[in-house]
């Protein structure tokens, strides 16, 4: 039973991350009618942004380990969101905007090209060697004598950090990182939904995604809506990149490719263009992957991607538009 719960938790976490990436992917598709295959690379850029900000000696700020951890987290989230948004908007401005109205095939090719280009730039700028992500909870852990064996103190981190009450308990348990990840995930998802469903800008974006011409006729300019959508999608991918590397521990230039594909799948399951659908699709995918690994025999379980995608294929035969999908007007 506890095994099931553990694996459900693992699946939920993975699913939330897929969902977070998929929401941005789906938003962009809805508004710009563009399969943004570079979305996974925004995720990678966000992860590197968080890596560099987490490596800054920010632990000097604030009093006590709890505050330190809190600020490191906040700054990492902000930096990863900003770098994801920046690269997303840049790609839109430099490439997609020129080509958006030419043809579907051309936009598709440009998106694949952007993806490869960003990976190559990643190799050049960050090097192809994987990097370990610093455990932002480390100062707290090091300070606790009972758990000194859990993680060796890394050079440069202060061992005399004062330990404070509540946050300590969270950070000290090996699942502390999971708890932190989950809280940030929940906030990001809530923020995205709130933005799209409850603000005027979100309304405008949804209007453009439903029918660009009609939206224009009531005074909504599509281009700013598209830019904002790219920024929001990129920021969500960036935050997902940070949480991914925090939880799984590594950062490398190709890290965005597979999660990008998975997000695409999640968006398709949920119905491309639908934000809640993307979220649900991501959750389903994460749970399916984790549970199939957990319960299938060893010879098959390693092929969890194949198992999952096979199920997707069957699902699409039954519901071609996905869970919450709707038909888009081709005229848009």
């Amino acid at each position: 039973m506890s095994y099931l719960l553990t694996q459900l938790g693992n699946g939920l976490m993975l699913g939330c991350m897929y969902g977070l990436i998929a929401v941005g992917f789906s938003l962009v598709y809805g508004v710009a009618r563009l399969m943004n295959f570079a979305h996974g690379e925004f995720f990678m850029v966000g992860a590197y942004g968080a890596l560099f900000s987490a490596e800054l000696p920010l632990w000097r700020w604030g009093n006590g380990a709890g505050a330190t951890m809190f600020w490191t987290l906040v700054i990492s989230v902000l930096v990863s969101a900003a770098s994801g948004a920046l690269v997303s908007v840049l790609v839109e401005r430099l490439a997609y905007r020129r080509i958006r109205r030419v043809s579907r095939t051309a936009t598709f090719l440009v998106a694949v090209g952007a993806s490869i280009l960003l990976q190559q730039i990643g190799f050049k700028v960050f090097s192809a060697s994987p990097r370990g992500f610093p455990d932002v909870c480390t100062p707290v852990v090091v300070a606790a004598p009972t758990l000194s064996g859990w993680l060796q103190p890394s050079a440069g981190l202060p061992c005399e950090v004062a330990v404070t009450s509540q946050l300590q308990a969270v950070a000290l348990s090996p699942s502390g990182t999971s708890a932190v990840t989950f809280v940030v995930l929940a906030f990001a998802v809530w923020g995205a939904l709130f933005f799209v469903l409850r603000t005027d800008t979100g309304l405008a974006i949804r209007a453009v995604s439903i029918d660009e011409k009609s939206a224009r006729s009531v005074g909504i300019r599509p281009q700013p809506a598209i830019v904002i959508t790219f920024a929001v999608g990129g920021a969500l991918a960036g935050i997902a990149g940070f949480l991914w590397s925090l939880r799984y521990g590594g950062v490398q230039p190709l890290m965005g490719f597979i999660p990008g594909v998975k997000a695409f799948v999640a968006a398709v399951i949920g119905g491309v263009g639908s934000v809640t659908g993307a979220l649900v699709g991501g959750l389903l995918l994460g749970l399916l992957e984790t549970l199939s690994f957990a319960y299938l025999p060893g010879e098959v379980s390693g092929y969890r991607d194949a198992v999952t995608l096979l199920l997707l294929l069957v699902f699409l035969l039954i519901r071609p538009l996905g869970l919450l999908g709707r038909q888009f007007g081709e005229a848009a």
């Binding site: 095994y3 694996q7 030419v102 192809a128 064996g149 379980s301």
Partner: protein
């Protein structure tokens, strides 16, 4: 309307393709260490142009990087001795088999090297073996241990032992030295090295009366090991055997936290990397690997190499650094004995290396051009290695 559309199309595609091409060209050629100083100070030495095609970046990046460091140290020594002069050119295949194939073609046909050091990894060697045979240029890999690597023909050889032997050594160590009866395998199914090593461990362990209670697989580059860790934690096995690359294993160990404390972990020489400690966050307990030498071996030859390496690179040399050094020595030995400096003559001399004293032991190439020598078992500590035992074939 047609013209601007075409302009936009060409502009956008061009925007992406041009820098791509540029980046590709720039990264391929990285002659790091060229012939510095006079070509041949003594005037009597045999000069050979050597191309090193190694994995300096990517998931096995430190494998190539360390062996390159060792190789450079050896070449310094060899050139100082003056009987052989080696002119080294270095290329990075990014741990990508197709990139390795491209580079091999380039170094032979464009840069006209007489011999090749590399490729680093088993998948890259398996991908390029036929090509090397067709190009008829001798290649010696410092580090690729998969059994099939030298099957491509007489132009491919190596200074390291092979995985069937490494797997046997690990199984012997687990069964006889540690006395374990049950093992679970966690295999990288996308990596020939990992699959081959697991196969030989499995058969030897069973032969010695052990039991394989379960097997799981993952793929190179996976990031989420949470499900795998929880599943393995339920295993009845006493030992988990994980013959994967340090880049994946490091993340796996970090994510495992304390959930695997009841197991002893066994790995192959692909764990041997300084990056293992960074990626795992030092979260390594009860782990042993088979590798090529131990940095704390009291042997004076080993300590001489270790001290010099630390002086030059300010790092402790891992097993691959030692293999890189020995690859240099093997080329010196072969070139000294070679009848001429044609690739074919160098190849014949390499294939008759017998009893060469290297840092990783005495190197003799057998009829398959594989080095025959003992495996070293080291304990992996959170920040280094400790010599445990040595297992001969």
């Amino acid at each position: 309307m047609v013209r601007p559309r075409w302009k936009a199309l060409v502009g956008s595609l061009g925007f992406f393709l041009l820098p791509l091409l540029g980046a590709g060209c720039r990264q391929e050629q990285q002659p790091v260490s060229r012939n510095e100083g006079a070509v041949d100070p003594a005037g009597s030495g045999k000069s050979v142009r050597l191309g090193a095609v190694l994995s300096l970046t990517g998931p096995a990046g430190t494998m190539g990087g360390e062996s390159l460091n060792g190789l450079k140290l050896a070449i310094e020594d060899i050139n100082a001795r003056g009987k052989v002069h080696l002119d080294l050119r270095v290329y990075d295949d990014k741990t990508d088999p197709n990139e390795a194939a491209k580079l091999i073609q380039q170094v032979v046909q464009v840069d006209r090297v007489q011999a090749i050091v590399g490729p680093s990894t088993s998948p890259n060697c398996l991908r390029t073996g036929r090509l090397i045979q067709d190009l008829a240029v001798p290649a010696m890999t410092p580090t690729a241990t998969n059994a099939g690597v030298t099957q491509s023909g007489e132009y491919m050889s190596r200074v390291c032992f092979i995985d069937p032997f490494q797997g046997e050594a690990l199984a012997q160590f687990a069964r006889k030295d540690l006395g374990f009866r049950s093992a679970e395998l966690i295999v990288d199914k996308a990596n020939d090295y990992s699959v081959g090593l697991a196969d030989s461990f499995r058969s030897t362990f069973k032969k010695l009366g052990g039991e394989i209670v379960g097997e799981m697989t993952y793929s190179t580059g996976d990031a989420d090991f949470a499900a795998l860790i929880a599943k393995a934690a339920r295993s009845e096995a006493q030992v988990l055997v994980i013959p994967g690359w340090y880049s994946d294993v490091g993340l796996m160990l970090r994510q495992a936290g304390r959930k695997w404390d009841k197991f002893t972990l066994l790995g192959g020489d692909a764990w041997d990397s300084p990056q293992l400690f960074e990626l795992s966050g030092g979260n390594i307990h009860n782990a042993y690997i088979s590798t090529h030498y131990a940095v704390d071996e009291p042997n004076p030859r080993v300590q001489g190499f270790v001290n010099r390496y630390i002086k030059v690179y300010k790092l402790k040399p891992g097993g691959f650094a030692a293999l890189g050094y020995d690859t240099g020595l093997a080329f010196e030995d072969a070139i000294l004995r070679a009848k001429s400096l044609t690739p074919a003559a160098i190849k014949d001399a390499i294939n008759s290396i017998r009893g060469l004293q290297g840092v990783t032991g005495e190197i003799t190439l057998n009829s398959n051009r594989d080095a025959v020598k003992p495996a070293t078992i080291v304990e992996v500590l959170p920040n280094g290695y400790r010599f445990k035992t040595r297992i001969s074939g």
